[in-house]
C-alpha cells in the first residue's frame, strides 16, 4: 500500500475563460494548484476557484462520473473533469500544463459552462425520447427478451454529458445535425420491443436531411463517450433497420447509396465508383444514371470530373467499365451474398451483449499484432501471423 500513496504535487492548469456579457475576448487563465496526482481535474479547478478566483465558471455536481455535469475538453479531448486524473491529464498535455476548455459545438455561457439547452437538450427532445407503449397495455408486465433489453442498456448508459456532441464533426459543419447523443437515444426506443412507433421514428429520422444519414462515420463520438454508448454504432444500426427491415427509401440518398454499394460489390467483387455516384442519386440499377436527379448531380460535379479526365486520373474507358475480380471468385462472392441475404433473419453479433469469449482482453484481440508476437512464427514462415 505504501508505494501507492503519492503526496500532493503542483499542477499547472490553464483554463479557457470567457464571459460573453463582458464584451471581452476569450483568454487563457493559468493557476498552480496542489493536490495528490490521483485527484481529478475537477478538484483542481475547484481548488483554483476557492484559492485564487471565485469567478471561474464550471458546472458540476456528483463528482463521481454519473451526473454528466462537468463535461469539458481537457487538452483538446472531450471528457468528464471529475473522471480524469490530474497526473494523466498532465501526461497528455503540452509542456506539462493541463488545458481545460469548454465543450465544442455549443455556445459558451461562461468559462467552462456551455449552453446545453440550446443544443444538446433541444436535439434530444427532437427524437421523442420516451416510450410509446404498445397497445393494449398488458395487465401485468410487458414481456421482452433478455438480449433485447441488455442491448438497449448500452444506450441507456448515456449520462447526457454532451461529450459526443462536443466532438461531432458533422455538427461542426452542419449544426442542425441531430447528432450522436440524440440519435443514440432514438435507438434506445427503436431497439426496445415494447415501443410501438419504430416505423414512424425511423421514417422521420431517415427523411430528415440532418438525421441518420448526415453522420460522417468519423468515430469521434465513439471515442468521446465516457460510458461506452457507441453512438455512431447505434446510428449505423438505425440505418440498417430503416433500410433493410422497414424498406425506407429516403430522399437523402442514404438507402440508395447503401443498396447501390452493396449491389455493385456483388456484381463486380470490387467497387465501381463511376457507377456508384449516379445510382446513389437515381436508383440502384443501370438506369439510375438516366434519372433526372442523377443527371443534375453529374452536371454539378462537372468541374471535378472534367479536371480528372484532363489529368488522365480517370479515363473514360476506366470509368465506364468496372474492374472485376476473376469469374470463379465472383461466383463465390455471390454465393456468400445469396446465402446470407437469404436468411430469414439477419444474424448480428453484438459485442456489447456477447462480450469477448476468449483469453485476450479486447484491446489485444483486434490488431492481431499482439497475437502474432505471442506466437512463435512457423519455422517455414508459412501463414500470416496466425497462431499455430
Amino acid at each position: 500500500m505504501a508505494d501507492t500513496f503519492k503526496p500532493p504535487e503542483d499542477f499547472t492548469i490553464r483554463l479557457r475563460r470567457y464571459d460573453p456579457e463582458s464584451g471581452e475576448a476569450p483568454y487563457w487563465d493559468e493557476h498552480t494548484i496542489t493536490l495528490e496526482p490521483h485527484r481529478s481535474v475537477l478538484e483542481g479547478i475547484l481548488q483554483a476557484r476557492a484559492r485564487f478566483d471565485g469567478s471561474i465558471g464550471i458546472r458540476c455536481s456528483c463528482r463521481a462520473a454519473i451526473c454528466g455535469s462537468c463535461g469539458v475538453r481537457i487538452n483538446g479531448e472531450p471528457g468528464l473533469a471529475c473522471h480524469t486524473h490530474l497526473d494523466e491529464a498532465r501526461a497528455s498535455g503540452a509542456n506539462g500544463a493541463i488545458e481545460v476548455e469548454p465543450m465544442g459545438n455549443m455556445p459558451v455561457i461562461k468559462d467552462l459552462i456551455v449552453d446545453m439547452d440550446a443544443v444538446h437538450w433541444k436535439k434530444v427532445q427532437r427524437v421523442t425520447p420516451w416510450l410509446i407503449a404498445k397497445q393494449p397495455v398488458p395487465e401485468r408486465e410487458y414481456l421482452a427478451s433478455h438480449d433485447s433489453m441488455v442491448d438497449v442498456t448500452q444506450t441507456m448508459a448515456c449520462i447526457q454529458c454532451g461529450a459526443c456532441v462536443s466532438d461531432c464533426l458533422a455538427m461542426e459543419v452542419d449544426p442542425g445535425f441531430i447528432g450522436p447523443a440524440a440519435l443514440a437515444k432514438a435507438y434506445r426506443f427503436v431497439g426496445d420491443p415494447r415501443d410501438d412507433a419504430h416505423d414512424i421514428r425511423l421514417r422521420d429520422l431517415a427523411e430528415d436531411p440532418q438525421g441518420i444519414y448526415d453522420c460522417t462515420h468519423c468515430f469521434k463520438c465513439v471515442e468521446a463517450c465516457p460510458k461506452d454508448v457507441n453512438p455512431m454504432g447505434q446510428i449505423m444500426r438505425l440505418r440498417r433497420i430503416a433500410g433493410s427491415d422497414f424498406g425506407i427509401v429516403d430522399k437523402n440518398n442514404g438507402e440508395r447509396h447503401e443498396a447501390a454499394f452493396t449491389t455493385l460489390v456483388k456484381d463486380n467483387g470490387l467497387l465501381w465508383e463511376a457507377e456508384l455516384l449516379p445510382r446513389s442519386y437515381g436508383g440502384n440499377s443501370w438506369f439510375g444514371k438516366l434519372h433526372p436527379s442523377a443527371a443534375k448531380e453529374l452536371l454539378s460535379s462537372l468541374p471535378a470530373i472534367l479536371k480528372a479526365l484532363m489529368r488522365g486520373k480517370v479515363t473514360p474507358m476506366g470509368a465506364l467499365r468496372p474492374h472485376k475480380i476473376p469469374k470463379s471468385d465472383l461466383d463465390r462472392v455471390r454465393a456468400i451474398y445469396d446465402r446470407i441475404e437469404g436468411r430469414e433473419e439477419r444474424y448480428e453479433l453484438n459485442l456489447y451483449v456477447s462480450g469477448y469469449d476468449e483469453e485476450e482482453p479486447p484491446a489485444a484481440a483486434p490488431a492481431g499484432a499482439v497475437a502474432q508476437e505471442a506466437a512463435p512464427s512457423a519455422p517455414d514462415g508459412a501463414g500470416t501471423g496466425v497462431e499455430p
Partner: protein
C-alpha cells in the same frame, strides 16, 4: 519482407496513382507484394451498415486468402478505410469462437477457413513498426528538405483507438508525423489533420461534405503547408478530386496538393514525380512545388 497485399478498390479505380506508386516503391523498400487479386471489396463500412454478417464473411474470406499466401509475414493494405472496415470485422471474428465458426461455415464451400489472429497493417504502420524509422531514413536518397507537409490521417485509421491497437507503445495516430520527419520533411500541424474529410456523406449531404474538405484544406493553407499527405484514397478523393468544388463550398481559393503516402515516400527515395503519378492529380503538386529546389539531396 513478403506481405499479402490488399490494394483496395479505389486505388485501382479513381486513384490509380496510389496502387501504381506503391508498386514502384515496394522493391526499393524490399517489400514483396503478393496481391490478393481474388479478394473482394471490404465494404468500407457501408456493407456492414447494410448487413453485418455479410461484411464480416466477405472480409473473413479475404483474411483466409491472405493466410494462404505462403511465406507472407502479414497482410498489408494501402487504404485507411480498408484498414478500419477490416479491423471492425476482425474484432468481431476474433472475439467470439462461435461466431467465427458460423462465418467459416459459409466459407467452407470453397475450402477456406479464417483462423483467429491475422496481422493486418496499413502501409503506414508497416513502415514504422516493421521497417523502422531508422531504416527508412537510411534509404532516403533525396530528403524532403524544406518541404512543409501537413499530415491528413483519415478517421478510419485513428479511431476507435482500442480496436486499432493505438496506445502509448504504438502511437499509430502519430506515425505520419514520424514518417514525414524521417523523410526529411517538416511537419505542419493544423486543426483538421485527424478530422473527417467529408467523403462518407458526399452523396447524402454534399454541402456539408465539401465544407469539411474545404475547411481542412483551408486550415492547411493558413498553416503554410506546401502539401498534404494521406494514407487514405477516399480522403484523397474529397481533398483532391473534389477540391474545385470544395473551393466553392468554402468560398476561397485553396490550391493545396494532396499526396498519397507511397508518393511522398517515393519522392524521398529518389523516384521521378511523374513516375509516381503526381501529374495526374486534380491539384497538380508538380505545378505548386518546385521540386528542383524544394526537394534537394545528395542523389538529386
Amino acid at each position: 519482407m513478403k506481405v499479402a497485399y490488399w490494394p483496395g478498390c479505389v486505388s485501382r479505380g479513381f486513384t490509380p496513382e496510389l496502387h501504381g506508386s506503391m508498386a514502384r516503391i515496394a522493391p526499393l523498400l524490399d517489400i514483396e507484394l503478393v496481391e490478393l487479386d481474388r479478394a473482394c471489396c471490404t465494404g468500407a463500412g457501408v456493407i456492414a451498415e447494410h448487413n453485418q454478417e455479410l461484411a464480416d464473411t466477405l472480409n473473413a474470406r479475404t483474411f483466409a486468402l491472405a493466410q494462404q499466401v505462403q511465406g507472407a509475414e502479414m497482410m498489408m493494405n494501402i487504404c485507411s478505410t480498408c484498414q478500419g472496415a477490416q479491423s471492425e470485422c476482425q474484432q468481431r471474428l476474433d472475439a467470439n469462437a462461435e461466431y467465427r465458426a458460423h462465418v467459416n461455415t459459409t466459407l467452407a464451400g470453397e475450402g477456406l477457413t479464417y483462423e483467429k489472429g491475422l496481422t493486418n497493417k496499413n502501409f503506414l504502420w508497416l513502415l514504422v513498426e516493421e521497417m523502422g524509422l531508422q531504416e527508412l531514413r537510411s534509404r532516403v536518397k533525396r530528403p524532403l528538405t524544406n518541404l512543409k507537409v501537413g499530415p491528413f490521417y483519415g478517421c478510419y485509421i485513428v479511431r476507435p483507438r482500442e480496436r486499432l491497437g493505438i496506445d502509448e507503445e504504438r502511437p499509430r495516430d502519430h506515425y505520419l508525423h514520424s514518417v514525414i520527419e524521417a523523410l526529411g520533411g517538416t511537419v505542419i500541424e493544423y486543426a483538421g489533420m485527424r478530422k473527417c474529410c467529408g467523403f462518407p456523406i458526399i452523396t447524402m449531404n454534399k454541402e456539408a461534405s465539401l465544407k469539411q474538405a474545404g475547411r481542412h484544406l483551408g486550415d492547411a493553407v493558413d498553416a503554410d503547408a506546401d502539401c498534404l499527405v494521406t494514407p487514405c484514397p477516399l480522403c484523397h478523393l474529397n481533398l483532391d478530386l473534389q477540391q474545385p468544388l470544395a473551393e466553392r463550398a468554402v468560398g476561397r481559393q485553396l490550391e493545396m496538393p494532396v499526396l498519397h503516402l507511397p508518393q511522398l515516400v517515393g519522392l524521398a527515395l529518389g523516384l521521378d514525380p511523374k513516375e509516381l503519378g503526381l501529374s495526374r492529380h486534380v491539384v497538380r503538386p508538380t505545378s505548386v512545388i518546385d521540386w528542383s529546389t524544394s526537394v534537394v539531396g545528395a542523389a538529386a
